[in-house]
């Protein structure tokens, strides 16, 4: 199974390595998704962290934005981390970035403040357990629609899932702990087997 890693801007290689390390265990391998044609044949897609304004701009220009929405609506699992979560959301509260509307969350960009307010905290995630979550200029999830809240921090959701879409406001690719990537791969496998 090919897992696409959106390679537009941001910490792409960290996700790439993470999926590559899981190659033998789950028979998956990562592929770089840089342009429209690269979306062909992938079973799941990861949208890494970075600058949501930059990633959004390039996604729109290349036509990838619409294609990702189409593929996700027809069932392909997509995981968004930090900026990726902003891009998947239904409301970003910011005209500079429009969400894809794939998951029912309202986002506030840079909710915790600037880089000086970035932090690492252990969160408890449903079906996954304890996880060291790295929040870097992280967005906040202000309200949720139909999605399932998988983890909260101080009462606010930090990881959510709605069917085939998984979003979190922190960076699971930075700590070397692959539990969240493994969870996402299991979502992809479930879809593949149906």
């Amino acid at each position: 199974m090919k897992i696409g890693i959106l390679n537009v801007q941001g910490d792409v290689s960290e996700h790439f390595q993470m999926v590559r390390h899981l190659h033998q265990k789950y028979d998956v391998y990562p592929v770089n998704v840089k342009e429209l044609g690269d979306l062909q044949g992938i079973s799941g897609l990861i949208i890494p962290g970075g600058e949501s304004t930059v990633i959004y701009k390039i996604l729109k220009k290349s036509g990838m934005n619409d294609r990702i929405i189409e593929m996700a609506k027809s069932g392909m699992p997509v995981m968004g981390t930090c900026a990726g979560a902003i891009l998947l959301s239904s409301d970003t509260g910011d005209i500079r970035v429009t969400g894809m509307g794939l998951i029912g969350i309202t986002i506030k960009r840079n909710a915790y403040g600037r880089q000086i307010n970035s932090f690492i905290k252990t969160v408890d995630i449903k079906e996954i357990g304890k996880f060291q979550a790295v929040f870097i200029r992280a967005p906040g999830i202000e309200s949720t629609g139909n999605c399932e809240v998988m983890s909260r921090l101080d009462g606010s959701p930090v990881m959510v899932r709605e069917n085939n879409i998984l979003a979190m406001t922190f960076h699971p690719e930075l700590t070397g702990d692959s539990k969240i990537h493994e969870y996402f791969i299991s979502m992809v496998r479930t879809v593949e087997m149906e």
Binding site: E51, V54, Q115, V134, I136, G176
Partner: protein
């Protein structure tokens, strides 16, 4: 797996992590809120606040300092992307002031007039990440040892001339190549050599006091560390580089990038992203130039696209390096 609890510098992960989020992007120099908005709209991954762009610093001369805090605040309020700001080499107070203003990253930059002739800032003492320039492999290693979260080539800022950025990339890469062939003993010797610049002040003082023949001991030469501790730490950095076959940090190109083709060349040479200074706001059409450089950085091997975005763009007027005073030597 990284055990965060046992990590000596938990902050280190946040600092390096922040730098990772800028990969594949363009950081643009801006001097006011209006320029910052143009940069953000064009797709800059971050803006760099400074008083004057390098080509103006070069033309006007005088002492170049950190930006007016009023301007920094204006820029911070005008955009949602991260804001970086330049601090003079070794200017601990400017660094703390900029940190307190809320900038997301500091650039300890040779473009400004240096404040300390002996030492760079101990970057581990700051909560915000710091990017530093490097011309050579030993320079990059020293900055990493001091706690930089990101490295960039120095290049020759304000010239619109790419040759120095290329020189610095090649020089650092060659250092990494040579490192790969060294034994541990040889590598330790290299570590000691790289550490020597931390004893410059002590050598000078000792010569003043005793003349050339006698040497003072090398204890407490840099933030309480003696020469042995420094070279041990530098040895660790070298081992990490050897293992990774690259610098363990995000590595950007800077200094002289003036056209989309220049940006593409930097990416082709393996850089993680680019800083563009005078190249944008000293060109004929800054908005178009900014967008073209973002496109070029993203699609650096799509030569048809590079041809399209470069068409009819007028780059800044360039300078021949031989005719000027080099800022990189600061």
């Amino acid at each position: 797996m990284v055990d965060l609890k046992s990590m000596k510098f938990g902050d280190e992960l946040l600092k390096r992590g922040f730098a990772k989020m800028t990969k594949g992007g363009v950081v643009m120099d801006v001097t006011n809120a209006e320029q910052a908005k143009i940069a953000e709209k064009a797709g800059a991954v971050s803006v760099m606040a400074l008083e004057r762009v390098p080509s103006d610093i070069r033309a006007q001369g005088g002492v170049a300092r950190m930006s007016d805090p009023l301007k920094v605040k204006e820029i911070l309020e005008s955009v949602s992307i991260p804001v970086m700001a330049k601090v003079r080499i070794g200017h601990l107070s400017e660094a703390s002031i900029l940190e307190s203003l809320g900038v997301d990253m500091l650039d300890e930059s040779e473009v400004l007039t240096p404040a300390d002739p002996f030492y760079h800032i101990n970057k581990r003492l700051y909560k915000v990440p710091v990017v530093c320039g490097a011309r050579t492999f030993p320079e990059a290693v020293r900055r990493i040892f001091e706690g930089a979260a990101m490295i960039r080539t120095k290049g020759e800022a304000g010239t619109g001339n790419i040759i120095e950025a290329v020189r610095h990339i090649r020089t650092v890469s060659d250092g990494i190549y040579i490192l790969n062939s060294l034994t541990n003993d040889e590598m330790f010797k290299v570590a000691e050599n790289i550490s020597k610049s931390y004893t410059n002040l002590r050598d000078l003082t000792s010569e003043d006091l005793y003349g050339e023949s006698e040497k003072m001991p090398y204890n407490n030469v840099y933030y309480g560390m003696d020469f042995r501790e420094i070279s041990n730490e530098i040895f660790k950095v070298l081992k990490e580089i050897k293992h990774l076959k690259r610098l363990p940090l995000v590595n950007f190109a800077a200094g002289g990038i003036a056209t989309p083709a220049d940006a593409a060349l930097m990416m082709k040479m393996g850089m993680d992203g680019v800083f563009v200074g005078s190249g944008i706001f000293k060109s004929k059409d800054p908005q178009r130039m900014a967008e073209a450089i973002v496109d070029a950085t993203e699609n650096y091997e799509d030569y048809k696209l590079l041809g399209d975005v470069s068409s009819g763009l007028e780059g800044m007027h360039g300078l021949d390096i031989a005719e000027i005073e080099k800022l990189q030597n600061r």
